[in-house]
Every structure is written in C-alpha cells, then in structure tokens.
Subunit: 350 residues, 2 copies
C-alpha cells in the first residue's frame, strides 16, 4: 500500500498517453518534486504502463498501478463518455478521490468528459451552483488566475460571485498570497460599463463584507499585464480570452524565432546570446502554466492540456500537490457559507 | 476649396490631440500616403492647429481648418457628450460626412461618445439593427478582422449574422481578398459547443446561400494564428479578446526587451543583430494595426486608439482612405438586402 499524499492519475488521458503521463511524473520527481512525499495511483492499461515504468524508476518506486480496461476517447462527447465511461481510466481515477483513497486527481483527457464525470462522481459542494475551471496565466509580476475558462458557457450574477469566492480561496491556497486582488473582467473599468449580469455581480461584490480584496472591473489586457490576481468571468468569455492569449504568445514567439533565424548572421548573434534567449523561452513556455483546476466539487480535479509535454504534465502535478497540501477544500466551505448567509441577509436575488 | 477624396478629421480627439493628430497626418503624407490624392478637413481649435501646421508643411498644403469652440473630454459619458457635444470638433467632423463634404471621418477621441454621435448624426443603414466596431489584428499569414469589438455589450443571432455580412464586405474592400473565410468565435470548433445564441447564428450562416465563405466556429487562438480572416463575435467577448491579445503581445515584448538588455553581453549581441530585431519590433508594433471601423452606418467612421502615436494615427488614416476608395458602402447595401430577403424566405426568427 501507498502512504503519504496520494495523487490519482488518469494515465490514459491525453494525446500521447500514457507515454507523456509517465514521462511527466518522472520529470516531476527529478525536478520540483524531488523533495515531495507524493505517491501516485496510476489508472490505465497495466501492460502499457508497466513497460513505460521500466524506464521511469523514480515513478515506479512511488506508484501503484490500477488496471482499467478502457479509456475515454479525446473526441468523445460528454454524454457518450458518461454512458459508456464507467470503468475507464478516467472514471476510476476520479472514483479514487471519491472513495478517499487519493487526495486529488489529474487527467490530460477529454475536458468535457472529465467535467461531466467529475460532476457525477464527486458532486458539487454544498452551496455551489456550478463548478468553474480556473486557469493560471503568467503576468508581469507573477501569476493571474482566470475563472471560469470553460466549465459553463454562461453565468449569472450569483454564479460570478461564487466564482470570485472560489477563485480567491484557490489563489491564496496555491500561491500563498494573503490578499489577492479579485476583479471582474469587463469591457472597461468605469462603473457604467458592461451588461446587466456583470453590473449586478459588481454591485454584489462591492457591497460584500466578506473581506475579499475586490478591486472592481479589469480589462482583457490586465490578464497578461497583472491588473489583478483573480479575474472572474463567465466560461464563454474566459475560454476565449485564455485561448486568445495563448495564440498571441505563440504568434509573437514565432515572429521572434523568424527574426533570430532569418539569416546566418542572426543565427550567429542569437547563438552568442543563447543564455538570455533560453531564459526568455522558458518565460513564455506555456508548459510552465499547464494545469487548470475544477473548483466547486467535493474533491479537486486537475485538467492538464491534452497536448502538453512531460514538463507541462509535471507542472499540472505540481499544482495538484500544492492544492492537496493546502487547506483549500476546508476554507472554501467556510467562505461559501458566509457568502450565502450574506446573500440571504441582503436579499440578493440570483 | 478642397478637391479629390476628402477625409474629415476630429483634430481635438485623443490623449495628445491635436499634436499627435497633425504629426500623424504629416507622417502619413511622408510615407504610405505620398501618392494619395487625399485632403483633410481639420475640425478643432484654429489657433492651436495653425501653430502645429507651421511645422507640418505637407499637411498644411492639403488641409482646410474648420474651427470649433469645444471638444469632447476623453472621459465624458456618451449621454453627456450627446447633450453638450453639438458644435464640438467631434460633432462637426461627423457632420461633414453627413453633409457630403467628406467621405469618411477619423477620430482618436472618446469611443462611447464617437459611437453615440455617429449613430445620432449618420443613422444606421437600412436593415442594420446595430452597428459594429471592426478591428484589424496581425496573424501568421496576414490580417484578421474581429467584430464587434465593443459597439454593443451583447448580440443576438440575427445581429451576429449581420456582423458576418458587414465584416466580410469590409474585409474584401480593405484587404482586396476575394473570399475571406468568415467564422464565429466560440469555445470549441465542434457543432455542439457554445450557447444558444451562437448555435442559432451558426445554423443561420451554414444554411445561407449568400455566397459567404463561412467556415464555422473558430477559437480564441485563431485570432492570432490565422484560422479565419473575419471573426464574428458579440461586442463584450470581442472587446475582451482584442484587449487580451494586446496585453499579451505587450507582455511578451517586455520579456523580450528584458532578455536582450539583461546584461552587457546581451545588449552587445542584440546590437549586432539590430536589423532583425528592428524588423521584429515593427511586426509586433500595435500602431501598425491602429484604426477600428464602425460598420453599419450611413457613412464610415474610423476610431483611432486615444493613446496612439503619429505612426498609429497615420495607419488609421490609411485605413480610412482604403475604405473611402473602395465600393464598401455600395456593395454592403446589396448584401444586406440579400441577407434580409433570405431571412424572410427561410423564416429566420431573430
């Protein structure tokens, strides 16, 4: 049996699973995870995983395989996945959290399926209308968390308020910041800007005595420029904003590569400055921010990008462990209860 | 009297107006505008403009000043601007298009005020429910146009369909492309993704026989990576996507600057590669894409960034002239009529 902090892994989820998953765990244990006490439950095809573990000794020493006969296709619809997914590596990985065997689950599998199964197995936390997907993004001074980035395609004012509370507790737990600035993503920072839903959420958050460090509206540019630590929006806008940021970072990165490899002379001068350029590459490497988190369930589910590499997967595992070691799930219960008590007191209509 | 193509300029609009405006016109006439026959009606403070024209001989030779006593504050609310704005440089600049004296108007002033005044003075085109603001953005292969980026805070399926028609005609007119790919911005590319409004618009555009090159849904990353030429969305999402892209490009640019100036050695190697780095800087310079366009009015209104520099202002003027020389306003009438005939035929409920 395993002891210590236990992470449940959907070893078959992801474009290059289980290969990237096992390589990711090994990378984690070699680097940031060297001192961590974490152990892993690997859900998936026993034979395939065993073959890979032969080349991943650190992971092998800290893992236990739980065989599953099937896995969820990356393009399966959530409804299909729910109907046919019982017994799959994803299902079993979530089930390990439900049963209390593991603290947290990581999957690079199909997002819709993971969300639907997590909802079905773990259930929403008391007082949460809908869970949200929270993603980390680099900004000038550190890290922004944007939520919801796609668990729902819309949100009303009450849900946005809940996202603010969930996101704030998440930020404190993961990034050890006392008073992260909480904001609503809008088309401008003036009070009269935005639609009815966002104005109602703004009013609710402005009036709240919950002690959130709510700073009001921020704009799209603040995601990368660091206008707030916690940026709250509906899942439609959040998903588009995050993917827009990813696409733009990729475009500028390609421009840069073109410029530095455009001629023999450019290649030569770039070579001379290799050290600074590698540091730059690391700073804009999306794998350093891989690992979105479903918030609002009885248990924490980490969603890795399906196409991530070993380093990216390791980052998702690092986020999982950071959260599992924090008191996030306990504090959030207290904060949600306070939020809804306040809702009742002020007669907030959601 | 002026002859040839006439552009009406709100010389007092913008953070550093009228200084940047006159410098921008001069820059335009020195560079891309050298061969253009355009002339300018400069609306604003006669004395201030005259002083600046003394140092801008090309502009002086091609301009006529129209004095106005007032201008709209950059932070005025649209309602205030409408109440008190009559006779301001912005009002008069738009009025010149209404009266037929000028083909097109450019302002770097307050966006909300410009939109409200343009609506009031120029009125919506027959068959347009709401105008949209269209912005150009660099992508891997060329240019994406995103609309609406903030004229409205929401849009129904009928409006999204109109935006598609307006954006397509705009793209053809400005970028001389025969069949630009038209798309709807969504949280995924599969048919079942998105909310009810976007699905209805998708169905409507898929069924259309208008000859649009409609390719379906694209994601946020496609804005920078070139998944489509025309990207249609509501003004809330579009504004946030565009500002997110701007913020991200700025962040990566600053990272790059840090890397290249981090040490004496880095500075030295960057100096050796100056030519490629300057070309790169030009490629990611936002002023090269300055100039959003209000579509759907009887007349075309160009909105420059309030904080742009002379080069950015010149780009907005270049867009203005490109559009004024095209048959955009004529073809769009035909296309809009065809759209609404089709709406009636298929019984599309907006």
């Amino acid at each position: 049996m395993l002891d210590g902090l236990i992470i449940s892994i959907d070893a078959m989820g992801g474009d290059d699973a289980p290969d990237v998953v096992i390589k990711g765990l090994e990378y984690f244990l070699k680097t940031t995870g060297k001192q961590r006490k974490a152990r892993f439950l690997l859900h998936g095809d026993q034979a395939a995983i065993n073959t890979l573990l032969a080349k991943a000794p650190l992971t092998k020493a800290r893992s236990e395989i739980r065989h599953s006969d099937s896995s969820i296709e990356m393009d399966a619809k959530p409804s299909q996945a729910l109907r046919r997914g019982k017994g799959s590596s994803m299902w079993n990985a979530i089930q390990s959290v439900k049963s209390g065997e593991a603290e947290i689950v990581v999957s690079a599998g199909n997002t819709g399926a993971l969300m639907a199964m997590s909802m079905m197995i773990l259930k929403r936390k008391q007082g949460v209308q809908r869970p949200a997907l929270a993603a980390s993004w680099p900004n000038e001074g550190g890290t922004s968390v944007v939520l919801d980035v796609g668990a729902n395609v819309d949100a009303d004012a009450g849900q946005l308020t809940e996202f603010a509370v969930l996101g704030e507790a998440f930020y404190r737990a993961l990034y050890k910041t006392d008073r992260p600035r909480v904001s609503l993503l809008n088309v401008g920072t003036e009070d009269q800007k935005g639609n009815a839903v966002i104005k109602a959420a703004h009013e609710r958050l402005s009036e709240s005595q919950l002690g959130l460090n709510y700073i009001g509206y921020v704009e799209g540019s603040d995601i990368s420029l660091g206008g707030a630590e916690v940026i709250v929006t509906d899942g439609f806008t959040g998903n588009i904003a995050l993917k827009t940021a990813e696409g733009t970072a990729k475009l500028v990165g390609r421009y840069m590569k073109d410029a530095l490899q455009g001629s023999w002379w450019s290649k030569f001068t770039a070579f001379l400055n290799m050290r600074a350029l590698l540091a730059l590459k690391k700073r804009i490497d999306p794998s350093g921010f891989n690992g979105a988190v479903f918030l609002g369930l009885n248990g924490v589910v980490i969603k890795s990008h399906g196409g991530t590499d070993a380093k990216g997967y390791a980052n998702a595992v690092n986020i999982a462990i950071g959260l599992a070691e924090s008191d996030f799930l306990q504090t959030i219960d207290v904060t949600l209860e306070a939020l809804h008590d306040e809702d009742d007191n002020i007669g907030f209509i959601k």
